[in-house]
Structures are given as structure tokens and as C-alpha cells.
């Protein structure tokens, strides 16, 4: 059992090394994210002017939500995994995986975990620099259970993020160019994943619909647990059930697309 997983440990280690090579790209991205955070601070501070709360939460709670989201993004978001998978299919690099006893999904997932560890560690650098400026605005709830519940939610979110990117990558079996689909989906994920505003600010009917979509569990769900926007035990348990359901559904979809895609795939060359 463990020896079968050994190969993925090596894929993870290679992923770690190759992502450290791109440390400057991650650092630049992290640096620009701070400006994005500054824009959010300016906008929401202005929106809160003259009022103590908006949607039941204070300005500091809202700003804490966005800082948490930024950190989560670097730890669990799929950055360019879809393009990498797409390139490997288009250039025929996947042919070598078809001939070896290695599961392509697990191979890519191992590299994804390595990449997020590197980008997650690197975002902490600009965040430490920004800490003196944002420290006063941060207000995390003190309950330790949030960490115990939020971390598994975060892991499941990472799986949803990766599975969606993997699906888009596999679309290359049918379409030569996937960039348009990816950016189109990114717009939907941005709004329904809670990156533009906390989802609880949506009208109740829209929030209820969003709760059943996978985007809610890509980022908002763990962020809401960590920052105190979700506190009701029943709602969190229900969230977990839906999140696990989406993970399983996406894994099945991944597998189905892979099998169907391979039927269309032609390996050329010797």
C-alpha cells in the first residue's frame, strides 16, 4: 500500500523543487495581492462610514474576512494547474503516464499540493510586511474549535479547487484552447466564491442558492468558519455534507472525463 504511494511522494518532492524555481513569480503575485487588499480596505472602509455594521458584521470583521481569503488563496487555490494539464495533453506528454503504473490525477494532485505549500509560504512574507498596517483591523474569534473544523474544510476546498481545474484541463481532449472557458469560469467563481464580497451579504434567496453550488465551498466556507461569519453548528454540519458531496461528484466527473477523453486521444511518435 505505502510502496504504491511512494512514487507520489517523489512527484511531490519534484513539484516542491520546480515550484521553488518560480518563487519570484509567486512573490510578485503576493506583492500585487497586497495592493488588491489595499483597494478592498479603501472600498469597505468607505462603505462602512457612519455605520457600525453591514449585514450584521463590523468593518474589522469584514476586513479580517478578506485578509483570510487572501491567505487561503495562496494555500488552496488552483493557479495554473488547468493550463499545465492542458499543455501536457496537447503536447502528448501524458502518453508516458499511460504506459506507466501511475495515476495521472494523483500525480498532478501531488504537484498541486507541493505548489500550494510553496506559494502559501511565500505569501506570508508580504503579509508579515503588511502586518503593522493591517494588525489593528484583524479580529479573529477566539474559539479553538474553529481551527479544528476550519482546517478540514480548507483541505476539502483545496480538493474542489484542484478538481475543477483538472476538469478544465481535461477539456483539452475536446477543445484545443481552454483559456476562454477558464477565465469565464473564474468570473463565476470570483463572485460565487465570495471573493468580491462575503456571500452572506447576498439577498437571502441568492445566498440559499449559492450554498448548494460548489463555488461556495471553494473559499467562502472555510473563510467563514475561521472568521466567525458561520457559527451555527447545524449550518456548518450541513455545509460539510454538501462540501463532501461536491468533492465526490467532482472526483467522479474527473474520472469520467479522463476515460472519455482518452478514447479521443491519439498518441503519436515512438
Amino acid at each position: 500500500m505505502f510502496s504504491a504511494l511512494e512514487k507520489y511522494r517523489y512527484a511531490f518532492l519534484v513539484g516542491l523543487q520546480s515550484n521553488i524555481v518560480y518563487r519570484w513569480n509567486f512573490a510578485i503575485r503576493g506583492f500585487f495581492s497586497l495592493f488588491h487588499l489595499a483597494a478592498i480596505f479603501v472600498l469597505w472602509t468607505a462603505a462602512f462610514f457612519g455605520r457600525d455594521e453591514l449585514g450584521g458584521f463590523s468593518l474589522n470583521q469584514t476586513l479580517t474576512y478578506f485578509v483570510t481569503l487572501l491567505v487561503l488563496q495562496f494555500f488552496i487555490s488552483a493557479f495554473n494547474e488547468d493550463y499545465q494539464i492542458s499543455e501536457e495533453i496537447r503536447q502528448g506528454i501524458i502518453n508516458q503516464f499511460l504506459l506507466k503504473p501511475i495515476n495521472y490525477f494523483l500525480y498532478r494532485f501531488s504537484i498541486f499540493v507541493a505548489a500550494r505549500l510553496v506559494s502559501g509560504a511565500l505569501v506570508l512574507v508580504p503579509l508579515v510586511i503588511a502586518m503593522p498596517f493591517v494588525h489593528d483591523a484583524l479580529t479573529f474569534p477566539a474559539e479553538p474549535w474553529r481551527l479544528a473544523v476550519g482546517l478540514p474544510a480548507m483541505m476539502l476546498s483545496a480538493m474542489i479547487q484542484f478538481s475543477i481545474a483538472y476538469c478544465f484541463g481535461l477539456l483539452t481532449f475536446w477543445f484545443l484552447e481552454i483559456q476562454g472557458f477558464v477565465i469565464l469560469s473564474m468570473a463565476i467563481e470570483t463572485i460565487l466564491g465570495g471573493q468580491m464580497f462575503p456571500l452572506d451579504l447576498l439577498p437571502t434567496w441568492a445566498y440559499q442558492i449559492a450554498k448548494y453550488l460548489p463555488f461556495y465551498y471553494q473559499m467562502y466556507f472555510p473563510a467563514a468558519i475561521f472568521t466567525g461569519r458561520l457559527s451555527d453548528g447545524g449550518a456548518i454540519a450541513e455545509g460539510f455534507a454538501i462540501q463532501i458531496g461536491w468533492v465526490l461528484a467532482l472526483l467522479l466527473l474527473n474520472h469520467w472525463l479522463w476515460l472519455r477523453g482518452l478514447r479521443r486521444h491519439t498518441a503519436v511518435g515512438g
Binding site: N25, I28, F32, A38, V42, A46, L54, I191, F197
Partner: protein, 263 residues
Amino acid sequence: MLHYLKVWLASARYSIVRTLMFRGDFFVWSLVELFWMVVTLLTIGVIYQHTDSIAGWSKYEMVLLVGTSMMIQRLLMGFFWSSLFEMGRNIRTGNFDFMLAQPGNVMFMASTRKLDPDGLVNLVAAGAVVIYAAQQLQLEITVAGVALYLLMIFCGLVIHYSILALSISVAFWLANAQGLEGGYFTLTEFSRLPKQAFTNLATRVILVWALPAVVVTNAPASTLLHGFDHTWLLWLVGCTIVWFGLAVFVFHRGLRRYSSASS
């Protein structure tokens, strides 16, 4: 001048023919840009469900500001984005040699090689957002007011072009750094905010006074909302001259460092 117009028209014709060859791509990319515009408008809609004003700007005043920002961005995307993005990549790979052999100013040739009709199609959508907001606000629109607004939009386009060209020109010095165009997108985030929202001294000095992020959109939007104010016009024209001059200077300094990669 006529020579450059002919060169630009030839490039534009080539880009349109190319777009017609890849109609599916054109459709998807037009939809992508439209979706992102909707994302921004939805965000405004949601925030204004919980408040009446952001820094003294009402919902439709804010929509007008964001629509103005979209118009400038669509113009930049339509006329310059692809060419400038490719310029950064070509500098890194050494393929920029091709541009040096073109019949005209290198910066002009490198900036206008490609046209993106999908960006220009969405210019209509951005314009519709501005018109809708103006109607909701029941603004008195005059020919002179519209002319001034369009002049300011043009200045905004020149400033956005200059910022993007500056970001890309860094590639002459740092060949390995990618994603520098992110600097441009970072700045556009601030251009969707009203000047009055920058209450903190540091953000006010950096983003309102030092960088042209705010003036680019606030000047035309305020002119449409409150009428002509010579301060806005002088500020915007001044910024246009300074930032375009800086972009031209930095690009040509960088060009001197370009060492090619071919044999």
C-alpha cells in the same frame, strides 16, 4: 503621420480578418470580458443593498464611475493589450528583433501590431452602462459636456497605455520576471473607487496624488456628474503628458539595453 495611419490600418485589417477566422474564440472572449464587467456591477449592487453611499457617491454615481473605468479599460484591451503583452514576451525570448526591422518608430510598431475586436465590442456594453447610469441620475447632457467627457476618456486611455508600457518595459532590465503586467491591473482596481474614499494619508498621497489611478476615472465621471471643473482637466492633462513622456523615455532607455537572442 499618414504613413503611420496606413500602417495601423493594415494591422487593424489583419487583426479583423484573423478574428473572422476564429469566430468561436471571438465569441468566448467577448463573453469573458462581459462576465467580468457583470461581476463588478453585481458587487456594487450587493454593497448598495446594505448602504446608501460610498464616500458620498450614490449607487448610480458609482455605476457611472465604474462604467467610465470599464470604457477606458476596454479601449486599452481593444487597441493595445495584445501587442504590449506580446512585447514583454518577445523581449524575454529575443523575438523582439522582428519589431526593430519594422518601417517606423519601434514603440508605435510594437504597441499597435494587434487589435482585439472583442475588447472593442464590449466598449459598447461599457458605454451602455454609463448611459444607463446617466439616465437614472437624470443628468443634463450637453454636446460640450460629452465632448469634454470623451476627451478625458482619451487622456485616461493614454495614461493607462503609459502605465502598461512602463510595466512591460521592465522586461528590458529584468528578463526573468513575469507577471509584471499585474502592476497595471492592480492600478485599475483603484480607478474604480471615488477619490473621497481615500481618507488615509498614505493611500491619498500614493494613489491619488503620486500615481494616476484615481484621476483617470474620477475626472471624467465628476465632469459628467457635476459639470466642468478646470482643476480636474488640468490635473488629467498634466498627468497624461507626464506619464506618456515617462513611458516613452523608459521604453527607449530599455531598448538600448536590448541585446537580442538570435544569432
